[in-house]
C-alpha cells in the first residue's frame, strides 16, 4: 500500500529536490532530465497494473489523514482512473523530454517551471485516484492553482498575467460550484465515498437536492473542460510555454472535467437534465469551437479553439452515452454503451494527436520566431519531419484514415445517428439536430485542420518575412511528437489492443451496471458503406471546397464584431464588477482606524448580544462558585486602578506601563488559580508586547489633551460600555451553563496517551497538534506580512526622496 502512495505522491516529494538540483547541477545537466525520472517511473509502475485491471480487478488503498473528521485519502484504482493515470504520466514524460529542448537551460527559471509542473502532476494524479469527494475537490483546486502558476510563468508579460488570472477566476468559480454540489451529494448519500454513493443510488434519485447537485457539479466540469460559454479562458492560457499548453491545456487538465462527468455518470446518468446539459452543451461547444478556430491567425489560438471543440465532442459523447444508464442492459442500452466507449476512445486519441500538434507549433515558434499563419508558409521544404508530424496529427484531427481520429470520428457519427431516433426526453422532435450539428462542425474541423497544415507548411516559402534563419528542429525536440505521431498510426491499425486493455476497463468503470463484452465494442476501420462513411465523405468533399475558397469568406469571419464576443462580455463584466465593488468598498473603507474599530466592535456586540438574547442564553448562576479570597479582591482593585490610569494618563509611556500592569495582574490571577502555563505565557507575552507598543508609539504624535466634540466622545463611551457588557455577560453565562459533558477526563489521561505529565503541553503538541501547526503557520505569515508592509513603505519613501 505504501508503495502506491509513494508513487502517487512522488511528484510532490521530488519537487523538494528540484531547487537543489537546479542550483548545483543545472550548469552541467538540464534539470528536466532529473524530473523526467518522476513521470517515467510512475508510468512504469502503473503499466504493471494494466493486466489486473483489464481482467476486472480494482484496487483500493486508504491512508488516514484526519480520521476524526472521516477524511482519509482513499484511493481507488479502476479502469477510468488507470486510463487517466497513464495519460498523465505518459504524456507527462513526453512533455518533459520536449521541454528539455524547448526551455533554455541558461535563460529560464527552470526550478520554478519544474516545481509547478510536478505540483500539477501530483495534483492530477491525486484527483483521478481519489475516491473521497473532498480530497478530490482539494486536488481539483490544486490543479487550477498550478495551472495559474504555469500560465503566468513568464510573469513579466502582461498577457501571461491576465491569461492566468482569467483561467483562475473561471475555473475556481466552477470549483466552488462543484464543492457545493459535492456537499449536497454527501448530504444525500451520507458518505464521502463516491463508490458508496453509487452503491446507494436509491436514496439519491428523487431527492430534492438531486437536480441542484447535478447543476453545481456540471458547473465545475464545464469550466474546467472549457465548455461553452466558459471556454474563453483556454485561448488566453496559451500564453504559457508550449510544453505546458500541450500538457495541461490539451492532454490532461482540461480533461479533468471530462473525468468528473464520466465518474458521475453512474450517479446522474439516465436523467433528462443530465443528458441535455452534457450532450447539448457539448454539441454547442463543438460547433462554437470549430467555428471560432477558423477565424484565428495565431497557430496556438487555433489549436486552443480546436481543443475546446474536441472537448465538446467528447462531452457530447458522454452525454449520449449516459442514455445507457436510462435504458439499462439490453439492445438499446448497448448502442449507447458504444457511445461512451467512443468518448473514452476519442479522449485517448485526442491526447495523442493534439499533444503532437501543440509540440509542432512549439517547434515552429522556436525555429521561426513566428506563430502567425499570415507570416508563415512553405515550411514543408525546410522542416520535412515536423511537416510529417503535423500532417499525421492534423489528418487525424480532421478524421481521415489511416489515423486514429478517423475511427473515433466514425463512432461519433454513429452515436449522433443513434441518438436522433432514441425517442425519449423529447428527442423525437429535435433529435435530428444532433447529426446535423455534428456534421457541420466536422466540416469546419476539417477546414481548420487543412488551414493549420497547408497555410503553415504549404505555399511559397518566404524567409524574408521571418526573423531568423529556419532549419529543422533538433532531434530531442522531435522525439516526443514522433512518438505521439506513431501512436496515432498504430492505434488505427491495432485499435482493439488498446480497447481491450485500457478502454474497456475504463468503460466498465463509467457504466458499472452494463454487461460489456469485447464483441459489442469492437473497433473496425471498415464497416461497409453506411451512413457514417457517407457523412465522412461529405465532410471531406465540402471541406475541400470550403478550403479552396477560404480566402473569400474567411475575411468576413474575421470581421465579426468584437463587441459580440464572449471575451468582450467577460471583460465588461469584470471591469464593471471591479468598479462597483471599489465604489462600495470606498464608502466604508475610509482609512480611519477609529472607523474600522467601530465596525468591528459594533458587529461584535450586535452578533453576540442578539444571539444571547434571541437564544435566551443569559443564565447567571453563582451557586457553584468558590468563595472569593482576599488576594482576588486586592488584585481586582489593582486592576481597576491600572485601567483608570490608562484612561486618564497624560502621556503615552504612563499609559503603556499601566496597561502592562493590568496584564501582569491577570497573570497573577492565573497563578492563584493554579495555571502556571497560562501565567508564564501571559507574563512573557506582556513583556514582548510592551516592547512592541513602545516601538509603535515612537511613530505616533505626542499625546495632546485636545477637547473633542461631545458626539465623538459619546460614541466611544457607548461602544466601549457595550463591548464590556457583552464580554461580561458572555463570560458569566458561559459559567452558568452546563450544556455538554466536560471533556476534562480525556485530557487527564495525557500521561498514558501522550507520555506527558503536562496536560497543557500535551494538548498543544499532540491532541490539538493540527491547531498548533496552523497557528504557527498563521503567525509566520503575519510576521512576513508586517515585514513586507514596513519594508515596502520604507522603499517607497526612499524612491520618493530620489525623485
Amino acid at each position: 500500500m505504501i508503495t502506491f502512495y509513494i508513487f502517487i505522491f512522488l511528484p510532490f516529494l521530488f519537487a523538494f529536490l528540484v531547487p537543489f538540483l537546479y542550483k548545483y547541477l543545472n550548469r552541467q545537466v538540464h534539470t528536466g532530465w532529473f524530473v523526467l525520472f518522476v513521470p517515467l517511473s510512475i508510468f512504469i509502475y502503473l503499466v504493471e497494473y494494466i493486466p489486473a485491471v483489464a481482467s476486472g480487478a480494482t484496487f483500493e488503498y486508504t491512508l488516514s489523514w484526519i480520521p476524526s473528521f472521516g477524511i482519509d485519502i482513499t484511493s481507488y484504482m479502476d479502469g477510468l482512473s488507470l486510463l487517466f493515470g497513464l495519460l498523465i504520466t505518459g504524456v507527462g514524460s513526453l512533455v518533459i523530454i520536449y521541454s528539455i529542448y524547448y526551455m533554455s537551460k541558461v535563460r529560464e527559471a527552470l526550478h520554478n517551471f519544474y516545481i509547478y509542473l510536478l505540483m500539477f502532476m501530483g495534483a492530477m494524479l491525486g484527483l483521478v485516484f481519489s475516491d473521497h469527494l473532498l480530497v478530490l475537490y482539494g486536488f481539483w483546486e490544486l490543479t487550477s492553482v498550478s495551472s495559474f502558476l504555469l500560465i503566468a510563468y513568464w510573469y513579466e508579460r502582461k498577457g501571461s498575467r491576465q491569461g492566468a488570472l482569467k483561467a483562475l477566476l473561471i475555473t475556481v468559480l466552477g470549483g466552488f460550484g462543484m464543492l457545493a454540489g459535492f456537499i449536497m451529494l454527501i448530504m444525500m448519500g451520507d458518505t464521502f465515498s463516491i463508490r458508496e454513493i453509487i452503491a446507494n443510488m436509491d436514496a439519491i434519485q428523487g431527492h430534492a437536492l438531486f437536480i441542484p447537485a447535478l447543476l453545481c457539479i456540471l458547473l465545475g466540469a464545464f469550466t474546467k473542460s472549457a465548455q461553452f460559454p466558459f471556454g474563453i479562458w483556454l485561448p488566453d492560457a496559451m500564453e504559457a510555454p508550449t510544453p505546458v499548453s500541450s500538457y495541461l491545456h490539451s492532454a490532461t487538465m482540461v480533461k479533468a472535467g471530462i473525468y468528473l462527468v464520466a465518474r458521475m455518470t453512474p450517479i446522474f446518468g439516465g436523467s433528462a437534465v443530465w443528458f441535455w446539459l452534457v450532450a447539448g452543451i457539448g454539441l454547442v461547444t463543438l460547433l462554437y469551437g470549430s467555428l471560432t478556430a477558423l477565424r484565428q491567425t495565431d497557430l496556438k489560438a487555433l489549436l486552443a479553439y480546436s481543443t475546446i471543440s474536441q472537448l465538446g465532442l467528447i462531452m457530447s459523447l458522454l452525454g449520449i452515452g449516459s442514455l445507457a444508464v436510462y435504458f439499462g442492459p439490453g439492445e438499446t442500452g448497448t448502442v449507447f454503451t458504444v457511445a461512451t466507449f467512443a468518448a473514452v476512445f476519442h479522449l485517448f486519441n485526442h491526447s495523442t494527436f493534439k499533444g503532437s500538434l501543440f509540440m509542432v507549433v512549439g517547434i515552429i515558434d522556436h525555429e521561426t520566431g513566428r506563430r502567425d499563419i499570415r507570416y508563415l508558409g512553405g515550411l514543408m521544404q525546410v522542416m520535412p519531419i515536423t511537416f510529417t508530424i503535423a500532417l499525421i496529427g492534423g489528418f487525424s484531427m480532421a478524421g481521415l484514415p489511416p489515423f486514429n481520429g478517423f475511427l473515433s470520428k466514425e463512432m461519433f457519427f454513429a452515436a449522433v445517428n443513434d441518438v436522433s431516433h432514441a425517442g425519449i426526453f423529447g428527442l423525437n422532435k429535435i433529435g435530428m439536430l444532433f447529426p446535423i450539428i455534428a456534421w457541420v462542425a466536422s466540416i469546419f474541423t476539417f477546414v481548420y485542420c487543412m488551414i493549420f497544415i497547408f497555410k503553415t507548411f504549404g505555399g511559397a516559402y518566404r524567409p524574408e518575412r521571418l526573423t531568423r534563419e529556419v532549419h529543422e528542429a533538433p532531434l530531442g525536440m522531435l522525439i516526443s511528437p514522433i512518438i505521439l505521431g506513431l501512436l496515432v498510426i498504430l492505434i488505427f491499425f491495432f485499435p482493439n489492443v488498446l480497447g481491450e486493455y485500457i478502454l474497456i476497463p475504463a468503460l466498465t468503470a463509467i457504466l458499472p451496471g452494463m454487461p460489456i463484452s469485447g464483441h459489442d465494442v469492437k473497433i473496425s476501420a471498415w464497416h461497409g458503406l453506411n451512413t457514417e462513411l457517407i457523412m465522412t465523405i461529405g465532410v471531406v468533399v465540402i471541406g475541400l471546397l470550403l478550403f479552396r475558397t477560404a480566402r473569400r469568406w474567411i475575411q468576413v469571419m474575421r470581421n465579426y464584431p468584437q463587441g459580440l464576443t464572449l471575451n468582450h462580455f467577460y471583460n465588461q463584466g469584470l471591469s464593471g464588477m471591479e468598479k462597483r465593488s471599489a465604489s462600495l468598498t470606498d464608502r466604508y473603507m475610509t482609512g480611519s482606524l477609529r472607523h474600522y474599530l467601530i465596525y468591528i466592535f459594533s458587529f461584535f456586540v450586535l452578533l453576540l448580544m442578539s444571539s444571547l438574547l434571541l437564544l435566551h442564553g443569559i443564565q447567571i448562576d453563582f451557586s457553584n462558585n468558590a468563595a472569593i479570597s482576599i488576594y482576588e479582591v486586592g488584585l481586582v482593585i489593582a486592576m481597576i486602578i491600572a485601567a483608570f490610569t490608562v484612561l486618564l494618563a497624560s502621556n503615552r509611556i504612563l499609559a503603556i506601563v499601566s496597561l502592562s500592569v493590568l496584564g501582569y495582574m491577570v497573570s497573577m490571577f492565573f497563578v492563584i488559580f493554579r495555571a502556571p502555563d497560562l501565567a508564564l505565557t501571559q507574563m512573557v507575552v506582556e513583556t514582548v508586547t510592551t516592547v512592541l507598543f513602545l516601538l509603535c508609539f515612537y511613530h505616533l504624535p505626542k499625546m495632546t489633551k485636545k477637547i473633542e466634540r461631545i458626539p465623538f466622545k459619546l460614541t466611544n463611551l457607548v461602544i466601549s460600555v457595550a463591548v464590556g457588557l457583552t464580554v461580561t455577560l458572555l463570560a458569566l453565562s458561559a459559567n452558568g451553563h452546563k450544556l455538554f459533558e466536560p471533556i476534562t477526563s480525556f485530557f487527564e489521561n495525557a500521561y498514558e496517551l501522550a507520555g506527558a505529565k503536562n496536560i497543557v503541553n500535551a494538548i498543544l503538541v499532540d491532541f490539538r497538534g493540527f491547531d498548533t501547526m496552523l497557528e504557527i503557520s498563521v503567525l509566520t505569515i503575519a510576521g512576513l506580512g508586517v515585514y513586507i508592509l514596513v519594508h515596502q513603505r520604507v522603499k517607497r519613501r526612499g524612491q520618493r526622496e530620489i525623485k
Partner: protein
C-alpha cells in the same frame, strides 16, 4: 535605540544569559512541567529583544548573523515535517509517539517525537516575534 546606557548594558549582559538558560529550561521541561515550545520560544525572543534594546541593532546583527524570517519558515517546516513522518509509518497525519530509552548519563529517559514538533513551534515563535519587532523598529 542608540543610547549609552551603562546600567542597562551591564544588567543585560548577565540577564540575557539567565533568560536564555531559563527559556531553554522551560522549553525542555514542557513535556512534564509548565513550559513548552511556545513559552520557551517567546522568552528566547524576549532575551534577543533585550540584547537589541541594550546594544543596538547594528551591533547585535553583526554578531548574530541570522535571518529570523528564515528561522520562522524553518520552524513551520519542521512542524509539518514531523506531521508527515507519522504518515510514512502508516499512522494519521501529526501522530506523535514516545518511548523510554536507557541513556548512558541520564538513566531512563523518555524521548517523545513531540519535542521535535515543539522545536518547530519554538523556532517559528522566535523567528516571528523578533522579525516583527525588528521590522517595526527599523521603520524610521
Amino acid at each position: 535605540m542608540k543610547s549609552n546606557n551603562v546600567i542597562l548594558r551591564s544588567v543585560a549582559r548577565v540577564a540575557v544569559v539567565i533568560i536564555l538558560t531559563f527559556s531553554f529550561y522551560l522549553f525542555m521541561n514542557g513535556h512534564h512541567n509548565p513550559g513548552g515550545g511556545f513559552i520557551g520560544g517567546l522568552s528566547t525572543a524576549a532575551a534577543i529583544v533585550l540584547m537589541y534594546i541594550s546594544f543596538g541593532i547594528e551591533k547585535v546583527s553583526e554578531n548574530i548573523r541570522m535571518d529570523f524570517r528564515k528561522l520562522a519558515a524553518i520552524g513551520v517546516l519542521i512542524a509539518i515535517g514531523t506531521g508527515t513522518a507519522g504518515v510514512l509509518f502508516g499512522k494519521p497525519f501529526l501522530t506523535q509517539t514516545f518511548g523510554h530509552f536507557d541513556l548512558p548519563i541520564f538513566g531512563d529517559t523518555e524521548l517523545a517525537s513531540a519535542i521535535i514538533f515543539d522545536t518547530g513551534v519554538a523556532l517559528a515563535v522566535i523567528g516571528t516575534a523578533v522579525n516583527i519587532i525588528l521590522s517595526i523598529s527599523e521603520d524610521r
